[in-house]
């Protein structure tokens, strides 16, 4: 029999193309906005100490915002990929499985009971909330005997999310902090400061790196637990580590931008269509594509109806919902 040629592009070229798209998205996001700037301004803002109006605006307001978009997009893309691999559930997403809602509820609680909390405390609260939300969903989903079917988990996620959403809103109303809570949760990337970034970004960067290290383990775990155990994986240990990473990435994202469903769902599916199903390739590519996607969505949010902002969460949801329905319709078979 004749040997077949490898059809897809070697991963290194895929990565290069991804990187180029990412850089284009970044530059575009820097240049376009309510206040127009030139590529030269963007370059000056990045590389020099020049201090004219446009350059200062870019450096102090737009740059931290775009960096936040990059970190959040990468974190959510990778968290989604890890969740999908670990649960073998094509519909897994931090927003759909209760992590985001849990983080939001924890955020509301933190604002009430720790009014002087700094960004670090807020972020840790968000992570704890994300862990709690995920635990509730997994617990509820596995109450009935048998394996966790994708749809049952998503249903449990919807129920838990609605409940936790109600909790945050209840807290907001009762303690008259609705405005503070919604500032965080619906604010998207508006008002991201350097100070906030400095605290949260290292956590995300660390989480992304650790995810990369675990990507091989994730691939064999995504085959089946028995196969993974047979290959000599400490399955329980790996699952706990993955869970912690997912919670860290999702919690840190909420601390930066609040609600952001569907990125974690969409990005890994788009990536898989190009790289195939090996998480050694999916994880880095999801980070790149997630970051580019968020930059693009944020840019749209700033320009569609300038000078007014269109919430980036709404833009992502408008793109994400049809995608979700498509995956459901295919019965999760896009998972290949």
């Amino acid at each position: 029999m004749m040997k077949e040629k490898q059809l897809s592009l070697p991963f290194i070229y895929q990565l290069a193309i991804g990187l180029i798209l990412f850089i284009i998205a970044f530059l575009a996001a820097m240049v376009f906005g309510a206040a127009d700037a030139t590529v030269k301004d963007a370059w000056l803002a990045l590389t020099s100490n020049t201090a004219n109006d446009t350059v200062t605006l870019l450096r102090e307001i737009r740059l931290p915002r775009e960096l936040a978009a990059i970190f959040v997009g990468a974190a959510l893309g990778v968290a989604g990929a890890m969740m999908q691999g670990m649960t073998r559930n094509p519909l897994a997403d931090p927003g759909l499985l209760g992590l985001t809602a849990g983080a939001n509820a924890a955020l509301a609680i933190a604002i009430v009971f720790l009014p002087s909390a700094n960004y670090l405390a807020i972020m840790l609260a968000c992570m704890a909330g994300a862990a709690g939300g995920a635990a509730l969903v997994l617990g509820l989903g596995s109450m009935k005997k048998g394996s966790l079917s994708p749809f049952r988990i998503v249903l449990a996620g919807a129920v838990v999310s609605a409940f936790l959403q109600a909790v945050s809103e209840g807290i907001g109303l009762y303690f008259h902090i609705s405005k503070d809570v919604s500032m965080w949760t619906a604010g998207g990337l508006i008002g991201t400061s350097w100070e906030q970034l400095q605290i949260i970004a290292p956590f995300i960067a660390g989480g992304l790196f650790a995810a990369l290290l675990l990507s091989r383990q994730l691939t064999i775990l995504s085959l089946s637990e028995e196969a993974a155990a047979g290959l000599g994986q400490k399955t329980m240990q790996v699952k706990v580590m993955l869970f912690c990473l997912i919670v860290l990435l999702a919690g840190a994202s909420v601390a930066l931008v609040g609600n952001m469903t569907f990125i974690g769902l969409m990005v890994p599916h788009i990536v898989r269509a190009v790289t195939g199903s090996d998480y050694r390739f999916i994880i880095p590519m999801s980070a790149l594509v997630g970051a580019s996607f968020m930059l693009f969505a944020d840019m749209l949010g700033r320009t569609i109806n300038a000078p007014y902002e269109t919430p980036v969460a709404a833009i992502v949801a408008i793109m994400g919902l049809p995608f979700f329905l498509l995956i459901v319709r295919k019965g999760g078979r896009t998972f290949s």
Binding site: M1, M2, K3, E4, K5, Q6, L7, R88, L213, R216, T219, I220, S222, L223, S224, E226, A227, A229, G230, L231, G232, Q233, K234, R272, G276, S277, D278, R280, F335, S336
Partner: protein, 281 residues
Amino acid sequence: MARLYTDHLHVGYGDHLIVKDLTTSIPDKKITTIIGSNGCGKSTLLKAMTRIIPHQSGTVILDGEHIQKEKTKRIAQKLAILPQTPESASGLTVGELVSYGRFPYQNGFGRLSKKDHEVIHWALEVTGTAAFKHRPVDALSGGQRQRVWIAMALAQETEIIFLDEPTTYLDMAHQLEVLELLQKLNREQERTIVMVLHDLNQAARFADYILALKDGEIVKAGSSEEVMTRDVLREVFQIDAEIGRDPRTNKPICITYNLLKGENKHEESIYSIPVAVRAHS
């Protein structure tokens, strides 16, 4: 003494014991098959012997080491297991999947060494799957897919290979193909093969040693001549079997069989229950 043996092994979930007080050893460099009716504990025994599931009490010893205590990665270098009908491996290509057979030998990011590449190449060749190296596993037919999974187990380079029903969902020709491949590996490379099979005649034809299980206990262990008898099959499967001889392989075969009526405990108990109660059960 055999490299792999169990001693008073108990396996179960909660209070429910599935494998009971089982002491046996797996003959080295032979093909062993485990037979028994549904739910008799075949797969559970297989998983417990390969440390995929924990056991309650007793021991499984591999090369003098307690299997639950030794490093799992080290065990994976000695013993491979092909789980029952693995999920379709999502969209991994054949080459990718087989290369994960090298997992027990790798660290960190897992770059493949020259040796790794050689072993992977060999595993693909010997299973006849090299031709579709770049195709996604889930685009293959059932028989091809099974051979790819076997290739992955082979890439693990272990002397002992466990397989849980490797012929399920395959047609007759493909079943034979898989079994002949395993036989070849056993004869040419002296690998120890342990597998669960449903088909008695296949078990008799390929196995050097058969373990017949019932309710988590061994009813009979031995060569196909010793196990493929009317009495043993009556005990294990509650069937009345007609045993003959395969004219080509000269191995015992079950030519035809009937279900035993009223003789086994199960049936008796039903007949002894009053009608009103029976209706509810």
